[in-house]
């Protein structure tokens, strides 16, 4: 299931289970560590908050972790949608063997149980290990810690099982009810809708937690329909802090998890036979139509941004590979997802402060950091996904048509990143700042964010000499740890430091002028770096080989 799937790319990125599970666990690590200052006793003293109750204070964060657990687990199920049930390759390889189909069914259900168990443990292991420590670190009682740990463990694990089972149920029901061709056709739309739903669930982290403690029979009945509220209520009930309504909702979490799990297995059994026999025709061509809107957008972007034949061809190729390539979309989605998680945490953090920042004259540094964080992760996500090869054996086309001496790759990568980034920045800026703080702040802030982002794009693409997705790459580079460290430090400089500086500058708008020499100096540094590149640093490559320990001179071959 991890490596499989109808669209799995044999030549592309094989993340390997270890790295994949590491990536899935990372949001939990980041989120837990970011909370250290909130619960640290030193920070409480510095804040003058001597009557700090970790249990009460942890409610929004508990909600966030439950939402995160549901979202990441559901994302895994959506991502592996095509390989949860047998696909064409399974059918071709297994059907001719003298084995009963009930044996395949048993093996598939066992594999699904393993996957859901492993995902639930992996996605939550960091928060289970770190979050209770962070919250109860300043408390001396072991019982206090054990109760909190138990409640958190049960809450997030059941939330994971619930969300995976729910996606699985939707998949199996659709598979059972719809004709196979229609199922394949609407499959992508259903997945998009599910992604929108899980993002919406994550977005509720900003507003819903504050309502849970006061939830009663008559207040906002729609809140009681949210699964995240059920599991947070379960957590509160286990902590002994539930009122009758939250106790009832906690009970609902247990029943819903059990029912969804059983229903998922039943629908899986029911749809299995149909799926297995119809997967043989999974490769059959479905009638498709020309995408007129897509073509219009391409024409517009070509006219405005991409002028040369190489750029035009490569842009179409890049966008299609990003959207249709599984590994590429995963890498980009992971970075963007991490960006959304950290941005929403910043928003939640600023909204739960005693005095709402929204009412202040200027936005807080946390709110200013939102577009910077999104920009940082989108740029990095695109840059990293460009490295992930897709159908490498087909890259002979580019090898034949693109001159190795062409210096277009870095400029092309910069343009593509900019094309993806600008709409996000505009949308984020207009929706977040324009209505609350007016146009003046919005324009100044977005200008700074855009300039800083452009500089960052220049830096990340300075030695880029590949056509996106067409170059092989070694699975791990020797400097991977250093690169991850640089990414983390880069995030703090790009997002945290810049937003803090902006917050300081916005207190007196004349201070904004100080950005000019700083950004100008960085620009000159980048230009100097670009000029110092040699011919070999800019030559187009299609194979990135790991450095060899021993270089052979091939002296036996006479030229």
């Amino acid at each position: 299931m991890i490596h499989g799937g109808e669209t799995a790319d044999e030549d592309g990125l094989d993340l390997g289970m270890g790295l994949l599970f590491g990536l899935l666990a990372l949001p939990g690590v980041f989120s837990s560590l970011f909370l250290a200052d909130k619960y640290g006793s030193l920070f409480q003293v510095l804040r003058g908050d001597l009557d700090f109750d970790p249990y009460s204070a942890s409610l929004p964060d508990e909600y966030f972790f439950i939402a995160l657990s549901m979202v990441v687990t559901a994302a895994v199920a959506i991502w592996k949608w095509d390989s949860l049930l047998p696909d064409r390759r399974d059918y071709i390889n297994l059907a001719p063997l003298p084995i009963a189909s009930s044996s395949f069914l048993g093996a598939n259900i066992f594999a699904l149980l393993l996957l859901v168990g492993a995902t639930a443990v992996d996605v939550n292991i960091a928060s289970i290990g770190l979050f209770p420590l962070v919250v109860c670190g300043s408390h001396s009682s072991l019982t206090y810690f054990a109760i909190f740990l138990g409640a958190h463990l049960v809450g997030v694990t059941l939330a994971s099982v619930f969300s995976f089972s729910a996606v699985m149920t939707i998949l199996c029901v659709l598979m059972s009810v719809l004709p196979f061709r229609l199922f394949r056709k609407c499959s992508m739309y259903v997945r998009c809708i599910l992604i929108a739903v899980i993002l919406a669930i994550l977005a509720t982290s900003a507003t819903v937690p504050g309502e849970i403690q006061g939830i009663a029979e008559h207040t906002r009945s729609w809140l009681k329909l949210l699964p995240t509220v059920w599991f947070t209520s379960l957590d509160q009930w286990m902590l002994g802090r539930a009122n009758p309504t939250t106790a009832m909702l906690g009970n609902r979490a247990l029943i819903a998890t059990g029912l969804t799990f059983v229903f998922a297995i039943c629908t899986c059994v029911f749809s299995y036979r149909r799926c297995f026999t119809s997967s043989g025709e999974a490769n059959a061509m479905l009638p498709a139509r020309e995408n007129a809107i897509g073509n219009w957008i391409y024409r517009m972007v070509h006219r405005l941004v991409f002028q040369t034949p190489f750029e035009r061809a490569a842009f179409r190729f890049t966008t299609k590979a990003l959207v249709r390539g599984e590994s590429q979309a995963l890498v980009l989605g992971w970075f963007v997802g991490l960006g959304i998680v950290i941005s929403s945490q910043s928003l939640v953090g600023s909204l739960t402060q005693p005095i709402s920042s929204m009412g202040q004259r200027i936005p807080s540094a946390e709110i200013l950091s939102v577009p910077l964080t999104l920009s940082y992760f989108l740029i990095l996500g695109l840059r990293c996904s460009f490295e992930v090869p897709i159908a490498l054996r087909a890259n002979w086309l580019f090898r034949l048509t693109v001159s190795p001496d062409s210096r277009e790759c870095a400029a092309f990568a910069r343009k593509v990143i900019a094309v993806f980034l600008l709409p996000v920045l505009l949308l984020c800026g207009l929706s977040l700042y324009a209505s609350s703080w007016g146009w003046k702040f919005t324009v100044v802030h977005l200008t700074i964010v855009t300039v800083v982002s452009v500089l960052f794009i220049e830096i990340v693409s300075i030695q880029f000499r590949k056509i996106p997705f067409t170059c092989s790459m070694p699975r791990f580079k020797s400097n991977s740890i250093v690169v991850i460290f640089i990414y983390v430090v880069g995030f703090f400089i790009f997002s945290t430091a810049t937003s803090t500086a902006e917050h300081w500058a916005f207190q007196d708008l004349r201070r904004v002028l100080i950005f000019l020499p700083v950004l100008g100096a960085i620009w000159l540094g980048i230009k100097y770096w670009q000029k110092s590149l040699t011919y070999l640093d800019t030559r187009v490559i299609f194979d990135e080989l790991p450095p060899t320990v021993v270089e052979t001179l091939n002296l036996s071959t006479s030229r």
Binding site: A288, A391, A394, S558
Partner: protein
């Protein structure tokens, strides 16, 4: 009149020669068939001709100039069908051809017109928006053929172009290759199928263990080997084991306890 000349080509992989001292010339209007058993160096030769692989020794000249001097300009004049139909499976047939045409610098109206007519002629028009990954082997091969012909190149290099094609498409392609030769294109044609080579090619070159074993017209080769057909001439020149006996041994091996 342009010509492709291979001069003393040699290619070594970790000091083992895959191709050694291969020389031939191909002029406009000629169809040169390249024959040889597996591992004889056909694909290595093709890779050097197309500039995907540097010869260890020797050179490839086109129009009298070493192709390495301006590879991009040379490749603009070459249409290539590789041995395996490796296409981008996530693109539709139409998108793939647009990618090829745009990379070759063709203007959009001409490109669209040619793609439409060629897709129609190769019976792919109804499937043009479907993903290449869902195409059969023959359909992928037809896409490769269209991609090679799209920009009306001077030189065509075909490596097993009939692989996976149905009878009708194979007939079309065989006639097309002959016609291209008659219309002044230079065609280099690699194949295992001797009958096709005999029918389509004006000249034949036989490779064995990386070396040119024989070269000339099909008639010359038949006469030189004293055989009635090119197939017999090929077996006489290349094969050093009895195919009938090997088949009998295999059938016996299947029944071994």
């Amino acid at each position: 009149m342009v010509s492709l000349v291979a001069r003393n080509l040699m290619k070594c992989y970790t000091s083992v020669p895959a191709v050694e001292d291969v020389s031939f010339s191909l002029r406009s209007g000629e169809v040169l068939g390249c024959l040889g058993p597996n591992g004889s160096g056909k694909s290595t030769t093709v890779r050097m001709l197309i500039g995907l692989s540097d010869p260890t020794r020797g050179e490839v000249l086109f129009g009298g100039k070493n192709i390495r001097m301006n590879l991009v300009a040379y490749r603009k004049l070459v249409g290539y069908v590789p041995e395996e139909a490796n296409l981008y499976p996530f693109l539709s047939g139409l998108e793939y051809l647009e990618l090829v045409g745009t990379l070759r610098g063709m203007d959009e109206p001409t490109l669209r017109k040619r793609i439409d007519s060629m897709l129609e002629l190769f019976s792919l028009h109804p499937h043009r928006h479907s993903a290449v990954g869902s195409y059969s082997k023959g359909m992928r091969q037809r896409i490769l053929l269209i991609a090679a012909l799209l920009d009306d190149p001077e030189l065509l290099i075909f490596d097993e172009p009939l692989s996976g094609l149905d009878v009708t498409s194979a007939l079309i392609v065989k006639n097309l290759i002959k016609l291209l030769g008659e219309r002044g294109k230079a065609v280099f044609y690699c194949s295992h199928v001797l009958e096709v080579v005999e029918k389509v090619c004006s000249h034949v070159m036989i490779l064995r263990k990386g070396r040119v074993l024989a070269q000339g017209s099909a008639d010359d080769l038949r006469q030189a080997a004293g055989q009635s057909s090119l197939e017999h001439a090929f077996v006489h020149l290349v094969e050093d084991r009895d195919a009938t006996q090997t088949a009998r041994d295999l059938a016996d091996a299947m029944a071994t306890a």
